[in-house]
Symmetry: C2
Subunit: 286 residues, 2 copies
């Protein structure tokens, strides 16, 4: 297992941690200022959200690399099914390709997929997962031409109805095996999987070629809002060391991306302090 106590070059910032992926939150730092602040602190990489990029993907990608950082990924593909998805397959696939194009422009090796919830008119998650498999399989061919990998991120089962019919690593690995494309894998986010005692075995089943990302935050024992009340690493009940041990035992040794949605706490702080906390917690408790 890697020792981060004296080397945090594997640390990446997901910009959601600074809040400005949602209107009305965060301190409003520009992309350039975020990049500079991460570089100053020795972060290894950065993950953006599409709304921050607009039509500046190539420019921002170059800016990140000029600062000595990597673009680690892009959030995210559109919902592929469920009540929050765009109306109709064509609109969904158009937006999916636009997200892939943006990732390619940025030089982001990974585009994260949040699958979307239970397709209206169906019950349970089975039919929705089939829709997702079909749509990801089609997009995977398009993404491969741009060297973009697609990371299926199982979300916590609390989002099963509306945001993600994919709620366990087991189902994510099954989906990868069914799609069977070399650029389709999984992302592991401690917020979503901390409670799952089958995680280590499922990651071994995925294998190193299918683990495309590792996301850090913490699950607060008493969570007030399942969307915007995530904890900073160390403040919650997730066994972060054990989860990383499982991820690394399965062969992953890539970036570790801090993604803390926290409207009432971390998003209200000075971003400089938040970034300092990310570094300190990464070295001490992750």
């Amino acid at each position: 297992m890697r020792d981060f106590a004296k080397d945090h070059s594997a640390l990446a910032l997901n910009t959601a941690t600074l809040g400005h992926n949602l209107d009305g939150h965060g301190a409003g730092w520009s992309v350039e200022r975020v990049v500079e602040a991460c570089a100053e602190r020795g972060f290894g990489g950065i993950v953006f959200w599409r709304r921050e990029i607009g039509n500046r993907a190539v420019e921002i990608g170059e800016r990140v690399r000029a600062a000595g950082l990597s673009v680690v990924g892009l959030c995210r593909a559109p919902y592929l099914a469920g009540p929050l998805a765009l109306p109709g397959r064509a609109a969904i696939m158009d937006d999916f390709r636009a997200a892939i194009d943006m990732a390619a422009g940025l030089g982001a090796p990974v585009l994260t997929i949040v699958c979307g919830g239970v397709e209206p008119g169906t019950k349970g998650i089975g039919e929705s997962l089939k829709l997702v498999a079909d749509r990801v399989a089609e997009a995977a061919a398009y993404a491969a031409a741009s060297n973009v990998r697609l990371a299926l991120e199982p979300l916590h089962p609390v989002y099963g109805g509306d945001r993600s019919c994919l709620v366990t690593m087991r189902d994510a690995v099954d989906l990868c095996l069914a799609i069977d494309a070399p650029n389709v894998g999984v992302a592991v986010d401690v917020y979503h999987v901390w409670w799952d005692r089958t995680l280590a075995d499922e990651l071994l089943r995925a294998g190193p070629e299918r683990i495309f990302g590792y996301h850090l935050c913490d699950w607060l024992a008493q969570t007030h809002d399942v969307l915007l009340d995530r904890g900073m690493m160390g403040d919650g009940v997730a066994d972060l060391k054990a989860i990383r041990a499982a991820v690394e035992a399965a062969g992953y040794n890539g970036p570790c991306e801090v993604e803390v949605f926290s409207a009432q706490n971390w998003w209200r702080r000075d971003p400089a302090d938040v970034l300092d906390a990310c570094v300190e917690r990464f070295r001490s408790v992750c």
Copy 2:
């Protein structure tokens, strides 16, 4: 699979569906009025919460049976671990025995156990599950003397931090096998397990001797409050027929208990209408 379309004698009311298990909610019907209303509608049984019973356990149990109903169960044992548990093992076990005594007085064959969350000072759910196993094993011997069975209810993983370190049927079955007492089994609640594609296999692993209850409600696609915004059967995305098929395939053919926590919807309605809806939905969509 049983046909409920013309026979709802397996239907039981969990009184939480009428809201009066929480202060300030519900229409305030007396226990006697609830029993009478259930009997009029052909319910087969009823499940109470401890706060409704006080020191009238024997009297209420007799009242229920005189009305032609069964007392199906009692909610619930105290949290056995985690931040919401009583302070100290002795206080927890005293209250656990008091709950068992009340179930025995009522003539309730089953006492439901909600395990409690992650024990302070620990990370992940592993250590907390060990505490739970130890405490349930001790209580099981006491409960056996009163012919009370203990039903471990895995809650949805959203409650993992504070209310239940037991969040999957897999872990619940493992816990039963570890404790290995004939009066320790599981309760299956669709709200908590609807997203789990391993459910059918885990129930087969439990076997008919270890399934002590089946709880009905629905998971609303867009849930506003994970505690008090449950749906009535048919209004959500749970595949209720498929889940019951799995439960019955594993050998369970006992009562089906409606338990709808719904502060902003069902708890605001006339209890008579709520009970009518329970019957109608039970016959049509469960």
